[in-house]
Amino acid sequence: MRVVIDRVHKSFTDSKGKEVVALKDISFTIEKEEFVVLVGPSGCGKSTLLNIVGGLLSPTSGSVYFEGLEGKKEPNLGIVFQEIALFPWRTVYQNVVFGLEERGVSKKQQAEIARKYIDMVGLTGFESAYPKQLSGGMKQRAGIARALAIQPDLLLMDEPFSALDAQTRTIMQEELLSIWNQTRLSTLYVTHNIHEAVYLADRVIVLSRHPGQIKSIIHIDLPKFGRDRDEYRLKYEEYADQIWQLIRHDAQEALKEG
């Protein structure tokens, strides 16, 4: 199974009626069990692209398709939102089983699957808490469990940790890696944080802005785990610097526009 993003093009008309190209000629694939990270300065259209892949936005032209789905009509997409988007009126447990409910999974199976993923994200004991009662990191754990529970063919994550403080964020990145190790899901992850990209990715896709197009695709040739260990520090920083040099100019431009 692989996901193909094929010549995706997206333009909007702004308030003055002018056409703005958000994404231009985006093509890449996500292989089975591959962790692809989209990174770019603000306004490069990376969230737009993720929304198109997630079926929440139509491309102006081009397409996104799955190849080699076994005997299924519709791929399962698990999305983890930047805004977390937990249903505030549902408890952690009820949020996690939401997608299972919609798929008509039996109550008994729902409970089993939910227990597994709630345990995996470390929320055991918080099943009956409402989102309001959770910290930011805990909320996002629930969001991740909800996306994992439907056993998606592709996991989409839109800056899931950007609202968290730096320490929580580091912990969540480590946990995400260990979760990924247990599920081995094909993942498309959007971030503006370069170190996060290098820490998580098999491949980093660097986008430029105005229009958003692929500037470079970088394979991270480091072992998947323990990239923050001393022996890889140099290589790690080299990758980060390489990406930063690609983005720097655009990021400065973005800053000027505000």
Binding site: L56, F81, A85, F87, P88, F98, E102
Partner: protein, 264 residues
């Protein structure tokens, strides 16, 4: 350092956390009643204009013993509960529909907003003409009065649901019906309750007005009847019952809200 030179910092905003003893809420009411009673006892006002609280209580006891009071209360309760439930349910359904479907919104909203400002009691003669003089027109006028605030609040509640949550539901496989059932309805419930509370006052108002115009039984009819006979104590019994009814109504709604919105 000398101890006398120390200047301690005091909490300057302690008034924000001030705890008031529980009995103070009751004390205000008790005080008013006491003043009222003594004004009447001292003969400063004629009992015809303002009967004493104890006189009202005695009259109420009389009316309970004679069965007059609960016959009237039951007649009123039947009308208001039926009207309120019908108006509320239809209001919530229509509000959800208007909020969800762009077509329904475009067609229905102008209609709702053009009927909304009409004082509903003005429609009573027309409704009596249509539905006869039985229970139906009174229930209908209350339902109508409840419908509008509920529809408008439900509608804005739906519009205020975070689109992110709708997107989330869709990506996890919700169809249209489930979006309404599992996202829009719970998401707009706080606003719906605000509408229901608003409507509770309106429904009481319409109940009394309708009963004064066109009923033989009911609190409104009773109040008007004793007003015409200048039996002020019994009139005041009706007024007190209405006040208690309003309080009860509010409490019930608050209780339902706390049960249905534990996540707030």
């Amino acid at each position: 350092m000398n101890e006398q030179n120390r200047v301690y910092i005091k909490n300057k905003v302690s008034f924000l956390e001030l705890k008031v003893p529980a009995f103070t809420s009751a004390a205000g009411i008790v005080l008013i009643l006491l003043i009222w009673e003594s004004v009447c006892r001292l003969g400063w006002v004629s009992p015809l204009y303002l009967p004493a609280p104890t006189a009202i209580l005695l009259a109420a006891w009389d009316m309970i013993v004679q069965g007059e009071l609960h016959a009237n209360i039951l007649a009123s309760l039947y009308r208001i509960i039926l009207g309120y439930i019908i108006g509320g349910m239809v209001g919530i359904l229509v509000g959800l529909l208007l909020g969800f479907s762009k077509w329904a919104d475009s067609i229905g909203t102008p209609i709702v907003y053009s009927i909304y400002p009409i004082p509903k009691i003005a429609l009573l003669p027309l409704i009596i003409l249509w539905l006869g003089i039985g229970e139906l027109p009174k229930v209908a006028i209350i339902a109508l009065g409840v419908f509008f605030p509920v529809v408008i609040n439900t509608f804005s509640g739906v519009k205020n649901v975070d689109p992110m949550l709708i997107k989330a539901a869709v990506t996890f496989g919700s169809n249209r019906l489930n979006i309404i059932r599992k996202v829009l309805l719970p998401g707009s419930l706080p606003m719906i309750f605000a509408g229901l509370k608003l409507a509770a006052g309106t429904s009481l108002l319409l109940l009394v007005a309708a009963e004064m115009i066109a009923a033989k039984e009911g609190i409104g009819a009773m109040v008007l009847h004793y007003g015409n006979l200048m039996i002020t104590t019994k009139l005041m019994v009706g007024v007190v019952v209405l006040s208690l009814l309003g309080l009860l109504f509010n409490r019930l709604l608050q209780w339902a809200e706390s049960k249905l919105l534990p996540w707030k």
